[in-house]
Amino acid sequence: MPRRIAIVEDDPTIRANYAEALRKHGYEVCAYAGRADAAAAFRLRLPDLAILDIGLGDDYDGGFALCRELRALSSQLPIIFLTARDSDFDVVAGLRMGADDYLTKDASLPHLIARIAALFRRVEAFKEAPPVEQVLERGPLRLDLKRMLASWNGRAVDLTLTEFWMVHALAKHPGHVKDRDQLMREANIVVDDSTITSHVKRIRRKFLAMDPGFTQIDTVYGLGYRWQESPSR
């Protein structure tokens, strides 16, 4: 049975383009123009994944409200924000609403589809543990690549998909400096340098919340970031 993806997007052309592209990849797509339509449809039947724009017509923050409603209906449902807004404020607000990822409309369709696939993998992994785990371990860090889950000292770290891939890119080759372009490529996002910086900051904060002694992500000014194997305390 094909997975159902809901797209809430006010621009009809973009909506149609995304819907067609997703259909070509074998998904079942329901497209909605406004918050009211979408909310009504979601109450009848939840999709398997939701792609939301933030500004919906005159409703400036309609996507945020919709995201909150969806989260109230289901805590497991993967939600991706796909929006033209690229300010830090919107990114933080969107992720805080409980979205699993936040993409700007610069992201190309293949990127979007790769992300959707990864999210579905993560959901599936929750349902049935795969027999062979693909795991990357670096000291206390453990990255489950199948389920897109990260843990630190055995406790799960709540990373978004973008963050997960960035951590993965860094931890894959400890000590190697990854510049911002490389991180962007690994995480499949198209953003500018300062957004990478704020992503890294957010990742650090999440780890620091669990372990105040976390210093593994090292900033190499002018170059990028690297994962330090042994904590430099």
Binding site: A21, T104, Y221, G222
Partner: protein, 572 residues
Amino acid sequence: MKRPRAPAFGLRAKLALVALCLLAMPWVGYRYVQEMERLLLEGKEQTLIATARAVATALHDRPVLMRVAPRDDSAARRQADEELQQLARSRLQTEPQQAGQNVSDAAEPEAAGARDQTVAPLHQGPADGELDEIAAILQGLERNAARIWVVNRERRVLSLTGSLKQAPPAAEPYPDGIEGWLQRLVRPLLSRLIRAPRAEFDEPASVTAMERSNEVDNALRGLPGARVRASADGQAVIISAAHPIWSRDEVLGAVVVEETSHPILSLRNRALERLLVLTLVVFVVGAAVLLAYATRLSHRIRTLRDEAENAVDAQGRISRIVSGSRARDEIGDLSRSFSSALEKLSQYHAYLESMASRLSHELRTPITVVRSSLENLKLQPLPEETRIYVSRAEEGVDRLSRILTRMSEASRLEQSLRSAERERYDLSAVVSGCVEGYRLAYPDRCIQWQAPIHSVMVSGSPDLAAQLLDKLVSNAADFAKPGTPISIDLALASGEAMLSVANEGPTLSEQIRAKLFTSLVSFRNQRPSDEPHLGLGLYIARLIAEFHGGSVGVTNLPDREGVRVWVSYPLS
């Protein structure tokens, strides 16, 4: 930012000048006192004429009295007599006709006889009884400060009583309180400006007689009159009034009453003194009030000015003006109109600030339409020759979207600066790290960098400092002549770390240098790279420098062609 400065010619100085108008007050007062003095003198003349008339009335119709010679042999009187005689003679000689006519017109037989004997009676034995009578009459009229003469037609002094001199009036005692204190202050000053009446003055009877002739002449002709004259030595003013003594229709002699103007003068001086004191008090109080008012006014205006100057801060944020916004006068009005102008400015500012990001947001949607359509197109089976157009279209869209990202970079940075956390970090470590990166990023450029021995601790965000250096270096790399090095330098100077990036290349004019750090200002002639240039790089550098509490600037190299962009960071 401009430092608040004191205006060259302040309100206070101006109002102090205006207060000088108050100085007209003493002048007006002085004129008033002068007028009063004149009136008093006139009154005095009238009084003296009245006195003379009264004396004359007592002596009317006594021709016998007038013919006698004075008995008193006092030196003064004798002298006065001689002078009078002399005067009469000289007058007869110099103006014989007039004098002759005069005498002959009025002459009675007795008078003519008397004239013939002008000299003689002096040497005759005095008619004691008559003179005593005159003296008795005059005795009753004797007054303190007046001199009364009785002369006969021959100008012989028949009687003289009283003296012009009198004991000087005791200096007026100072009243109690502030007024007295002020008078103590003012009196010496005043005595310098205006002469106090002198008790000592030289007014010998003889000279008096010479000068007195006018009104005596008139009186002898039958006309009462008065005259004001100076004493012989000019030290005192003497008012003299003469009145004829009649016997039927004939003038027998004249009564002359003299008095100094001293009482009037001392009155005038007292008035002036009080006037000066009052003016001084009013002037001081008035000036103090004006000064206080001016101080308050200029304080309010200065507060308003300072607020207006600081209303737009370094980050371009606009704050409200509070001072005097409730006051109901013109300054309150000014403050309110400042506020409303600033509000409009801040709205416009906000509009401009959001302009770039709004524009990029608005354009992003159509770009997404194009991009997603192209991507969908690529999924279709396409003939080979069409594919190239699709990829070209994608390239264009990519570039467009990079431009949009750059456009909103500054506003996103401003946003993140507002919430950025500050930390203490070693600037030289950041620069060293960055330089490693630049050597990789610009392999064909030589980047000269000498790290300082000591760590350079500043407060701010190391990520932002790296971003700033990125901008400066990429700028320098774009403008440097091929094969020339880019030198990065970090120096310590008086509590500041001075980071500079220098490259050889085209220099900048003064005009351009001032504008270079403003948003959306670019002076590139040609595009050296594919990256879009919107004139935001140096603006971003400025924002970051200001976030660190420092500043940016650009100078031309002194020794060779090129520019040096510097950033100052206050040390932490």
